[in-house]
Symmetry: C2
């Protein structure tokens, strides 16, 4: 259950043949092109005429830095989803990653299905670009309206808790969760690595955390990118994970290595789940995770005005602005053309056929997976009749009862009648809040060590207790947004 | 700068002679007695008559579980403060540790100095006990009115950030910070271990984190107590610390080992600071920390109603209640008498002389240290005349300026005029908020690795940037409450 690191040789051999490599790389180029297009272009979406300042948005507002890494991962995850027929969703922790999520939903066709005005042609492309971070358009962050998203960018820190919330009680689901190294500095995120003590390898799905070290926040380096690798490894192992670290900036080399690494970690996840499910014994495994260290603004402008941009904090948002300067316009034009859009889109502006057939189809697309659109999967919660729990009052002023104790009896029956679609979250206050009746029918989820004196701990409890209101909140959000039900009880004033 | 673990032999030999050991243990017994007294007793404070139900508070509200561990640490820290003439304060992370903090302030005499009605005699003892968690009395948590406290119990998670905030720019201060294993599950606390990347061994003081694993929260075990020790060690080393783990329940053995361990870690801190100050070169050391694993409710009732209590979650609050039951009253009486109060207090109810002389005196007492009462040390902030920064308006409607850019110029001068008593905190938004003028005179504090491309990072900056509003807030609180000044800037709605 605790597989050790594989020999490095297994990673050095690339699993992609030349044609696969070429197509995967082209798909990434397409996503990057669409991302830069969204940030910059008002018109001339396929650069069929020389780029001019009038084609550029007058006010540039979008985040490039995190985007190429997200696009890289998305393309690779698509490959394994298809190869293994995975049921998977994508949690985009870096809040500013809007361009990437929209670009991929568009490349998969989902975007045009949901928003028919943004079709898969030149006019659609132009609308896709113009609407981004534009008056009357769409947010620059991953947003509820982005197909495939259950995770709003903005207040950072909840990526992993949302991922775990989605995975609970979804045994066949894989949740790919990208954690930005900025977000990783937040309290909620720092605590949420411990969610691995609450994930049941038999009845829950898997979360694959991918810590993306692009090294910088807005103007500063990130802590996790600036501690020795040995220390980072200790930290992540201390959180209970088996980290696999992949680092580089050469695209072809990185494609081969990422393809190999994903095979490896998905094999490990399959082994962990397979063994637990076969033995019917849920213990805490050392779940694999990925640390990907790539340059911030990878494939973007290397230098602007004599200052390094790719691989630095200057790539965070708009790496080259003020396109009234001819030199800046030239840099932008060369950057966009470096993705060779003429090879990626056909005469009508549609993605060329050999790329369009790359992603998974239908509900296997991460942008169209029904788990990421909870309403499609929601089952009605069976509720007992609350009248059955009424306190009997024979004569006024003679009956004594505790309101929450009776609520506990009601919740006990809710849990019993909804064994796989309802969870109760709280910071270790379920008993203190007098809801103990729930323990007649369930336990507290706990995959860490237990002792005989412990009270109602089990790997498959319906009650989730951890002394972090952030985790309770995030887990519940992830659980609800994937179509289930739950309740967060707490007496702390600050959660009400 | 990165000392490895010392051979275990160094810990096995106890540094305490028999008399020291006996007195230290007696002081701990006294603190424990006063803690239990506060939780339970209305009258008969020294048990000079047989304990009866009428001596007990009718409603029992207080937290015993964490208290004996806090008292143990406090007694040992007093020893080293005196031996080394340390300037030190105590941050009591376990929010419920009120009985311990009040008991120690009372034993040191500070409590009676601040609250003369609660004198060092039988009547004072009775008042001390009665007021605790009682109508018109004092809170059950460590509170602002508790002498020596800058850290309010309640919303858990800020112990370490308060400790670091106190240590910044106080090069001679030691901050002993107890982190409960409940609190350690919170987001703010999980992130705040990384504060060690922001502590300058030359110009700042030292923080000694003491993670107290008593194993349980209210009704549940804690995560950090239920992962393998190897994993815990990886986690804490991954956070950048050198953890020393001490575990046991035999008081005499634990006294010797804790005394030895404190010598060791204080030597290491002295070495780290000494080397950096001698070389005038601030790098990030691997600061020592302590993990203390002792039973929850240590020295309390072993069993009540046939159920184990000491060492379990049943010790969290009131380990034995309903003293109308003779058996419960007997357990409480035996528990109180186990500390042998007749040996600890004289006929008048004052602490016996040989114990009263144990703690440090005057401002060296942690309960009377002026750093923990910021008002005593506050220096006026020198502020430039804001009129000097006014935007010149020659003619209405013709001048364009950015308000925060001008604020940045004002703050630049505030920093220049107050080089050691003012800090600017923020989640990597100082430049983004147009306050960049501050970088004309200072840098961002950063003790982690740097690269040539980095912008204004240095070990001694006045600007503290980390992508955790919790850390910014906690650091600033610790800094302000120890008598300094600062500002937290951020554009996130949720901090306003």
């Amino acid at each position: 259950m605790q597989p050790g690191p594989r020999p490095a040789a297994a990673l050095a051999e690339g699993p992609l043949n030349e044609s696969e490599l070429k197509k995967l790389h082209a798909f990434w180029r397409a996503a990057n092109y669409l991302s830069v297009g969204q940030i910059y272009l008002l018109a001339n979406p396929l650069l069929r005429e020389p780029l001019q300042a009038k084609h550029i948005k007058p006010r540039l507002l979008g985040h490039w830095g995190t985007t190429p890494g997200l696009n890289f991962l998305y393309a690779h995850l698509n490959r394994v989803i298809k190869a293994r027929d995975l049921d998977a969703i994508f949690i985009c922790g870096p809040g500013h990653g809007g361009p990437a999520m929209v670009a991929n939903a568009y490349l998969e066709g989902t975007y045009s299905e949901v928003y028919p005005a943004v079709g898969r042609d030149v006019i659609g492309l132009q609308r896709l670009f113009r609407q981004f971070s534009f008056p009357g358009g769409i947010p620059s962050h991953d947003a509820p309206e982005t197909p495939g998203s259950i995770h709003e960018g903005g207040e950072l820190g909840y990526a992993l808790t949302h991922a775990y919330g989605a995975a609970f009680d979804n045994p066949d689901l894989k949740v790919f969760c990208v954690v930005g190294d900025g977000e990783a500095e937040t309290g909620p995120l720092a605590a949420s690595w411990h969610s691995d003590k609450f994930l049941n390898p038999i009845t829950d799905g898997a979360v694959l955390p991918i810590l993306h070290l692009n090294g910088y926040k807005i103007a500063n380096p990130t802590i996790l990118a600036r501690i020795p690798e040995s220390e980072l490894r200790q930290l992540l192992e201390g959180y209970g994970h088996m980290p696999y670290i992949i680092e580089g900036d050469d695209p072809m080399d990185m494609h081969q290595r990422m393809a190999a690494l994903l095979e490896l970690v998905l094999d490990e996840i399959a082994e962990i789940q397979g063994a637990a499910r076969k033995k019917k014994r849920a213990t805490r495994p050392r779940w694999p995770m990925i640390v990907m260290r790539t340059p911030k603004g990878w494939t973007g402008p290397k230098e602007v005005d004599g200052l390094p941009v790719e691989g630095t904090w200057r790539s965070h948002q708009v790496p080259v602005d003020n396109v009234a300067k001819p030199e800046h316009l030239r840099i932008l034009s060369e950057w966009l053309r470096s993705y060779r859009p003429e090879e990626l889109f056909d005469d009508n502006g549609a993605l060329v056929a050999e790329l369009a057939e790359l992603p998974p189809t239908g509900r296997r697309r991460m942008s169209a997976n029904p788990h990421a659109n909870g309403g499609e999967l929601t089952q009605e919660l069976r509720l007992p009749d609350f009248r059955d729990f009424a306190s009997k009052v024979e004569k006024p002023g003679t009956t004594f009862d505790e309101a929450t104790k009776i609520l506990g009896q009601f919740l006990r029956d809710v849990i019993a009648q909804n064994p796989r679609i309802f969870r109760l979250m709280g910071p270790d206050e379920t008993a203190s809040n007098r809801l103990s009746a729930v323990f007649d029918v369930t336990n507290r989820t706990w995959l860490a060590e237990t002792l005989p004196v412990d009270d109602h701990l089990a790997p498959d409890g319906r009650v989730m207790e951890v002394l972090s209101e952030h985790l309770c909140q995030g887990w519940l959000e992830g659980y609800l947004l994937t179509g289930r039900h739950g309740l967060f009880t707490c007496y702390e004033a600050f959660i009400h």
